[in-house]
Symmetry: C2
Subunit: 452 residues, 2 copies
C-alpha cells in the first residue's frame, strides 16, 4: 500500500488561512494542502474596503493580494465557493458543500487549520433587510455598496456604529460628498479609546460636517417600497438614502463549537500561543480565534488583519515542523478620519482600571513636526502607566498627518516592559520636518513621569 502524503485542510481562504498555507508550502513541498473558501476570493484586504467605497481605489481586484490562481500555482488546492459545513473530528474529515455544483462531500485531513474569520454583528431590527442597508465585510459587500452609490445617487448617508468601520465609512461617504450622520449607541465613538480621546475624534468628524449622534440607539429602519428611507432613534428619524451598519464583528466559531472545540473570550476559538485549539491536530488563526494579550496575561478577542497574518504564519511554521510561538498582541490599532489619525496601543485608562492596575494617566498636546515647520499639525498623546513602578501600560494618539504611526514606538516599548523613565531617554529620530526635538510621545511620558 502506497503511503499517501500528509493532507492539511484549511478552512477559510483569507489572511490567516492562506498565510498558513503559504508558509507551510515553503517548508514542506510534499504535503497536500486543501483550502476551502466559501466566497469567490482569496487573500484580500478587508481593511481596504472603506477606501474602495470612498473611491480611492478603483477596482476591488487591487485589494486582492493573491488570487486563487496564484495560490494554485503555488501548489495549494483552493476550492472556491465551497463551504465547510461540519467538522467530523472523530473520522478526521470535514464536510464541504460546493455552492457551484450543489453537492456535499467529505474531505479527510491529517491536520486542520480553522481560519473562518469573523462576521459583522447583526442588528436585528425592523426594516433591517431593506435595500440600501449595507455592511462592509467582504468584497461583495463593498461592490454592492459602490454600485448603490453609483446607480441610486443617494444624498443622505447614515452610518450606524462609531468604531473603526463606522469612522472609515463616514470618511468614504464624505469623500463622495454625501450628507453624513454617524449614530452611536454608546456615549462616545471609538470604544477602544477613552472618552477624552474619543471626543477629539468626534470634533474631527463634526469639523468635516458629519452629524454625530452619540448615546443614540437605533430602534428601526424606516422603509418605502422595500428601500430604506430613514433610521429611527428615540430622538426622532434621521433621513437616509443609504446606510452602513458597522457595530463590530463576532467570530465565525460555530463550526468549531459544534465539533466540541473550546471557545474563549467572546466565543472566539481559544488557541494557545502555538495556535493550537483544544483538539490535537486542529489549529486556528485570525479573526475566528482569540490571541494572547501580553499585558493582560490572558487571551482576548481582538480581531485584526495584522494578527491574522502573524497567527497564520505561526500555524504554518508549526505545521511545517519548526516549533513557533506567537508572543502575543498588545492591543495596537490605528485608523483615520480624513486627515485625523487615530491610534492606540496597550491598555486604555478604562481597561487598565478594569484589569485592576493602579495607574497614573496624562495627556500632552504637541505637534507632528517642529512647530515652525510647514505642515506641522496638532496631536494629542494620552499615556497610561503603572503607579509606583512607572511601567508603561498604554497610549492613545489623535492628531494630524504623521501622528498615528508614532504609536509603534510605544507598542515596542511596552512590549519590552519599559518604564516612563526609560522611554523618555529613547534615542528617537528628530529633524524639523519629522518631529519637535522631544517627540510628542516622549513629551507625554515626561509629563506623566512627574506623577508616578
Amino acid at each position: 500500500m502506497a503511503i499517501r502524503p500528509e493532507r492539511i485542510v484549511i478552512v477559510g481562504g483569507d489572511a490567516a488561512g492562506m498565510s498558513a498555507a503559504a508558509q507551510l508550502r515553503r517548508m514542506r513541498p510534499e504535503v497536500e494542502i486543501v483550502a476551502f473558501e466559501r466566497g469567490h476570493h482569496t487573500s484580500y484586504a478587508l481593511c481596504g474596503l472603506p477606501y474602495y467605497v470612498a473611491g480611492y481605489v478603483d477596482d476591488t481586484a487591487q485589494l486582492v493580494a493573491r488570487t486563487p490562481e496564484a495560490h494554485r500555482r503555488n501548489g495549494i488546492d483552493v476550492r472556491l465557493r465551497t463551504e465547510v459545513v461540519a467538522l467530523d473530528l472523530e473520522r478526521r474529515e470535514v464536510v464541504a458543500y460546493d455552492h457551484e455544483r450543489h453537492r456535499e462531500y467529505r474531505e479527510p485531513f491529517d491536520q486542520l487549520v480553522l481560519a473562518t474569520g469573523a462576521r459583522p454583528r447583526r442588528l436585528a431590527l425592523p426594516g433591517r433587510d431593506a435595500a440600501g442597508i449595507f455592511t462592509l465585510h467582504s468584497l461583495e459587500d463593498a461592490e454592492a455598496l459602490a454600485t448603490w452609490l453609483q446607480q441610486e445617487r443617494p444624498r443622505r448617508a447614515v452610518v450606524v456604529g462609531g468604531g473603526y468601520i463606522g469612522i472609515e465609512a463616514a470618511e468614504a461617504f464624505r469623500a463622495r460628498g454625501l450628507e453624513t450622520t454617524l449614530i452611536e449607541a454608546a456615549p462616545h465613538v471609538m470604544p477602544l479609546l477613552d472618552p477624552d480621546m474619543a471626543e477629539l475624534v468626534e470634533q474631527a468628524l463634526r469639523a468635516d460636517q458629519v452629524t454625530v449622534l452619540t448615546g443614540t440607539p437605533v430602534e428601526a429602519f424606516a422603509t418605502r417600497n422595500g428601500r430604506v428611507t430613514g433610521v429611527l432613534t428615540p430622538h426622532g428619524e434621521v433621513p437616509a438614502d443609504v446606510v452602513v451598519i458597522g457595530i463590530g464583528v463576532e467570530p465565525n466559531s460555530d463550526l468549531a463549537r459544534d465539533a466540541g472545540i473550546a471557545l474563549g473570550d467572546r466565543n472566539a476559538i481559544h488557541v494557545d500561543q502555538h495556535c493550537r485549539t483544544s483538539v490535537p491536530g486542529v489549529w486556528a488563526a485570525g479573526d475566528c480565534a482569540d490571541a494572547y494579550h501580553r499585558l493582560l496575561g490572558r487571551s482576548v478577542y481582538f480581531p485584526l488583519g495584522t494578527t491574522a497574518n502573524k497567527q497564520g504564519r505561526i500555524c504554518g511554521l508549526n505545521l511545517g515542523g519548526r516549533p513557533a510561538r506567537f508572543p502575543g498582541i498588545v492591543g495596537t490599532a490605528i485608523t483615520r478620519f480624513g486627515e485625523t489619525e487615530i491610534a492606540r496601543t496597550g491598555l486604555s485608562e478604562r481597561e487598565a482600571r478594569e484589569s485592576g492596575f493602579s495607574i497614573v494617566v496624562g495627556n500632552a498636546r504637541s505637534t507632528t513636526r517642529s512647530g515652525y515647520f510647514p505642515g506641522a499639525s496638532w496631536m494629542t498623546v494620552k499615556m497610561v502607566a503603572e503607579e509606583g513602578t512607572g511601567r508603561l501600560l498604554g497610549a492613545q494618539i489623535v492628531g494630524g498627518p504623521g501622528a498615528g504611526k508614532r504609536i509603534d514606538t510605544v507598542a515596542t516599548a511596552l512590549t519590552a516592559g519599559m518604564t516612563l523613565e526609560e522611554f523618555i531617554y529613547l534615542d528617537l529620530a528628530y529633524a524639523p520636518p519629522f518631529s519637535p526635538v522631544w517627540d510628542p510621545v516622549v513629551v507625554a511620558a515626561r509629563k506623566l513621569a512627574r506623577e508616578v
Copy 2:
C-alpha cells in the same frame, strides 16, 4: 557673614545649556544661574536653518524656542554677546569677555556647565574667504545666506559636503530654483549610511536635478573681485554664484582642554552618563561633549540636538539634586531630501564590522502604505543583526513620505535588546493608509531572520 546662594554658571545659551538651566530653575528656585552666550540668541533650532534658507520658514525668530527675555523672566541671568574665554578651575571662576562693552571680567561659580556646542569644520583652501561662501551653523549664517540669495540672485549653487547639512542645503537651493551641484570627497554621500543606501539618496538628488559629484575633493575656490565664481576640483571647475560648506562639525572643547578637562572621541569633552567631566563640579552637555553609545559600550562624538536636550536635562536634574543618568544614544538620525526621507539607527554594516561584530545584513523593499492605497511610496529598509543570536544591531531607511520615522520602532527595539524573532512579532499599527499588513521594518527583519 551672609551665606551667598549657590551659583551655577552655564557656558553656552543653546539647547543643552538652557535645558540644564530651565530644569535646574524648576527644581531649585533659590540658586543663582548665570548663562553666558557669545551670540545674540538663546535656545534656537540649529536644525531648522536649512529650512529657513529654503524659504519654508519666514523669519529666524520662528526658530527661537525661547528668547533671552523669556529665560530672564524665568530667573536666569542670560548674558548675551559675552564669551567665556578661559576657565580658572582653581579659583572656580570663568573669565568672560563682553563683546558689547569690550571688557573682560571674572565670574565665580560653584558648579559649571559647559555647553559650548560645535563649530563647522574649516576647509582651509585658497579662496575660502570669498564673498558668497557660507556655512550653516547659526542664525547669523542663515540670515547672511538668505540675504545673499535675495540680493545677489545667484543662479548656480554648489554644496560642498554630502552629509546632513549638505543634503538639506541642496534641498534649500532646489526649493529656491537654483542649479545645484553637490560635491563630496568620499565615494558616497551620507557617510552615516552604508554605500548601498547612500546610492538611493544619490538617486533622489539626481532625480531632482542635483548634479552629484562623489569621490571629488575640493581643491580651491575660484574668485573674482573677492566673490566666489567657482569650485575647483581635480575634474575641473564647477561654476558657482553661491557655495555652502557642510563638511561636518567639531566640538568647541578648547576652553575645556586648556583648563585640563579630559577630552574623548574626536576631541569632544568626555562626560560620564551623569554628564560629569573629569573635574568635579564641572559638567558638560550637548554638541561639545561625547555621549555614551549603548551598543558600542563606549562614548562617542555624535552631536545632535535631541541628545543635547537630553544631556542638558540630565545636568539640570543632577544639579537640582535628583541623581539622573543618561542611558545613552543608539545612533539614531534622520533627514530628508525633498520627499525622500533618510534615517538610520544603531550600527551601519560598516560600523558593526569595524566594531568586531559578526553580523548578518539584509535589505527589503516595501511600501509606506498598502500598495493599492493612494500616496503609497517605495521605501527600502536595510537591517543589521548579530549572527547567531539574531540580536538587532541597526537599520537604515530611505523612502518616501512616512518612511523615515519608522526608524523609531527599530531604535526602541534595539534599545531593548530585541532579536529579529522578537521584532517580527511586534504588534505594530496597521491600516491601509499607514502601512502594508507587515510593516516595512518587519518585512526587512523577516527576510534577515532566515539568514541568522
